[in-house]
Amino acid sequence: MSVTPAGGLDAIVGPAGLRGPDVTRDRISSVVPTLVAEPDTPEQVAQVLAWCARERQTVVLRGAGTKMGWGRVPSDVDVLLSMHRLNRVIAHEHGDLTTTVEAGTRLGDLNEALARHGQYLPIDPPSGDGATVGGLLATNDSGPLRHRFGTPRDLIIGIQMATTEGVLAKAGGRVVKNVAGYDLSKLLTGSFGSLAAITSATFKLSPLPRDSGTVVIATPDDADLSQLIREVMDSQVDLTSFEVAVDVGLAESAAGSRHILLRCCSLTGSVAPQLEELTRFVSATPRRVDVVTGQHEHALWRRVPVLSGDSTRAAAVRVSWLPADLDRVLLAAREATAEIPALLNGRAALGAGQILLGGNAEQQAHAVERLRSSSAIGNVVLMRGSSDLKSRVDVWGPPRNIQSVMAALKNAFDPHGVLNAGRGPV
C-alpha cells in the first residue's frame, strides 16, 4: 500500500498543525523534510509518533531549532515534528522550588515566568535563552552554571514522554526527593530524540542570586594557568562558575590569551568579602586580576556561554578532560589545531567544555582526529559542523562497550527505527 504522507496526520494535528517545509528554516543539515507537524498537545505528539512508526516514516524532533546542526547528517526525513506549540508553564510551585513545564517552552520564557517569584532554572547553555527545555534535556546541554548546579540531568526530577507506540508515560514526580521507580528522565537526557519525545518535565529550581561578582584572571603561560586551577580547586572558595578560556589554535598563538573566570553568587552583603578574599588568593605575578560586577558582569556572562554558539563558521567540538591534566590537554589541543584558529573553553574544575575550530572542513577533520587520538582528551563529539566535515569524521566518535545496550534500548523504544533518522547517538 502506498502511503500519502499526510494521510491521517492532518486528522491528528488538524490543518493548523501540518504544513509543507520552509526549505531554509526547516532544513536539517542539508536535508529538507517532507512535512512539518506542529502538534498542540502531548496526546497529539504521541499520536504523530505512533503514526510515523506505523507508516514507517522517519521523524526528527525539533524544539526551537537552536541545535539542529548537531548529530549526523540525517537520511531522508519524512516528518519534522516541531514542539514549539507545547510551550506552557504548567506549574510553578515556588514554595517548593519546582516547576513543571512543557517541552517546547523556551528557557528564556520559562525563566521570565519563574523570576516573578525570585527563582530560576540554573542552566546557561551555549544555545542561549532561545533553546527549549526539551532540547536542553535531549542534548543535556549546559554552560558555566554547571560548576554549581550540574547539567539538566541533575536538575530534572520528573518527565512525561511520548513513545512510538503512541503512549504517554511518566517517570519521577514533582518532589525534589524521590526514588520510586526507574528514573527514565535520566535515560531520555542525552538521547537526542532517538528514544521518545519529551513532552514535559519537572525541575528543581534555585533562588535567583541576590548578589554576584566575578574575578577575571589573565595569565601569559600554560603552566601558571594549570597551577592556578589546581590552587582554586584545592581551596575552600565557594564558586558558582569556574571557567577557563584559552586560545589554542595556530602555532604562533602560544602567545594568545588565557583566562580564568571565577564567579561568586550569594546573599546580599556576602559577595564583596568573598571577592576580596578571592582576589587576594589568586593575585600573583605574572597574572592580571580584574573584578567585574554589575552591568559589566552581566554582559560578560552573557557573552561567555554563547562563545561557541554564535561564531558563524566555526565547528564546535565537545571535549572532556581530567581537570588536573589541563597542561597536557592544552599541549594536545595546540598540536591538533596548529594550522587553524581554535578556542578552548569550559568548566575548569569539571574538565568539560568545547573547542571551537576555524579553518576549512579538511583542517577541522584533521583536528578532530588528532584530538581523538590524544589520551588527555576524551569524549570528543562534533556538535556543530558542515556536512562536508561530517562526511569526513564520525560525529559521535568511536563506539564504546555500552553500544549493545544502547542498541537494545533503541530497539525497545523505537523498533521500526523511525526516530531521529540516523542522526544518533543511538
Binding site: 543535556n140 520510586a180 521507580g181 526507574y182 550569594s266 581530567l322 563529539v381 555500552i402
Partner: protein, 487 residues
Amino acid sequence: MASPLTTGALTTALRAIVGESHVLSESLDVLTYECDALPHLRETPVAVVMPGSADEVQRVVGLCAEAGIPFVARGHGTGLSGGATPVAGGVVISLARMNRVLRIDIPNQRVTVQPGVTNLEITRQVAPFGFYYAPDPSSQQVCSIGGNVAENSGGAHCLKYGFTVHHVLAADLVLPSGEVVTLGGAFADSPGPDLLGLVIGSEGTLGIVTEITVRIVRRPASVQTLLAAFPTIDAGGAAVSDIIAAGIIPAAIEMMDELAIQAAEASVHPGFPQAASLLIVELDGALSEVTAGMALVEEICRTRGTTHLERALDDTQRARIWKGRKGAFAAMGRVSPNYYVQDGVVPRSRLSDVLHRIRDLSQRSGLRIANVFHAGDGNLHPLICYDDRVPGQAAHAAAVAAEILTYCLDAGGSLTGEHGIGLDKAPYMAQMFSADDLSLMQQVRRVFDPNGVCNPGKVFPTPRLCGEVPGPYREHPAERAGLAERV
C-alpha cells in the same frame, strides 16, 4: 538454554569460581542473608556466594544466567525496603569481600572503590586532604557504596548536595547476561542516553556494579548549626517554607515533633528543649555567606515565634545536636515496644497539611506516631508506634502506614524519598504510576534482563504481592549491635 542444576551441582560450580570457603549453603550459614534491614520479609536462598573480584562476579552472574537461576546482589544488608531480600530458589551474591579502595585521586577530586566499601570509609580516606564524600545516609558507618548506588541513597545533607546519582562519575556494571559494560567514565559527558543515571537507583534490578568512581567534595570553609524550638508543628513548618523562600539553601533542615524529641531525650540526651516541633538548620559555605544566612534564618525563626534558639558554636555542640537527630529512630524503642517507619515525600509547601492529617490519623487509630524527618526536601519519616504483643496491632500499624502513603500521593508526593520501593512498597507502585508508566519501565528492565533473573520481584508490583501490606519495623541485628542508625 538452561539445563536445570541441582543445588549440589550449583554450589560446586560456584565454589569452583570463588573458592571453597566463599560459598554458603547450609541453612544455618545462610540465615543472616534471609533478610536485609526489613526483617519481616524473609526468604532462604539456595546459596550465598561471596566473590572477591569483578571477574568472579562476572563468572557467577554468567553461571546464573546460563542456568536460569535468579540472583540478588547484597552489600551490607542495611536497606530498608527489602531490596536485598533473597529470591526463592535463587542465589545471593554478597559484595562484602570486595571492600578495597582502588584509587584516590585528590587533584581530580575522585575516588574509585569496590562496591563493598562503606560510605564513611571514603570520607575517612580523603579527610586528611580536606575532602569528604557528600551523600550521608544515617547508616553510613556500615552501608556499602554498592548499595548506595542501587538505592540512590540520600541523607540529611542531600537538600544542598544531592543524592548518590549526583556524585557517581563512573561504574562498571555486570549485566544480567554476564557481559560487562562501563557506564560514564573518567572523562565527563559520555555521549548518549545517561545509562549511569538510569542504573543508579534501579535497586539492583539492572545488573551488579563492581567498581564505582565517586567525586569527593572540599570541606566547606564554614559550617553553622542552629537548633530552634516552636510551640506548634505549623510554626516550624512555616519557618521551613520561609527559609527556602528567602533564597537560602541550607545544607540540611531537619524537623522533629514532640514524641520524637521525648524519645531522643530518653535515649541519647542531646539536651533538646521540650517543644511541639524542633528544627535543626545547618548552613555551610563561605564564612560571610553562612554568617549572613544564619542571621536571616534566626530572624525567620523569631518571626515564626520560636521559643528557644541555640547556635552550635563548635564541633562538639554540633555533634550533640546531630546525635539527637540521627539517634531518634533507635530511641523510639524507649517509648514504644515496636514501630513501623515510612519514607513518603510531600511537596515542602504541603508539610503542614500532611502532618495534620497524620496527627488526625494517630488520634483516630489510637496509635502514637512520631515524626522525625528531612523537612527541607519534604521527606517524611513517620514512626508508627505499636505493640506486637497486642493481637492485631501490627497489622493495624501497617494499615495506618499505608494510609499515610496515600496522603503523600494525594499531596502530589512520592512513595519513597530514599529507602526504595524494594519488596516493601512494590504493591503501591500502581497508585503512583499508571499502567503505561510501569509498562515502559518494565520494558527497560527487559532490555537489561530479558530472562528476569536479576533481583526479580522487586520494585514492580506482581500479583503475588498485591494483597500484601508493608510490614512493621523490627530492629536489625546491626542496629542492636549499635552499628547502624536509621534515618
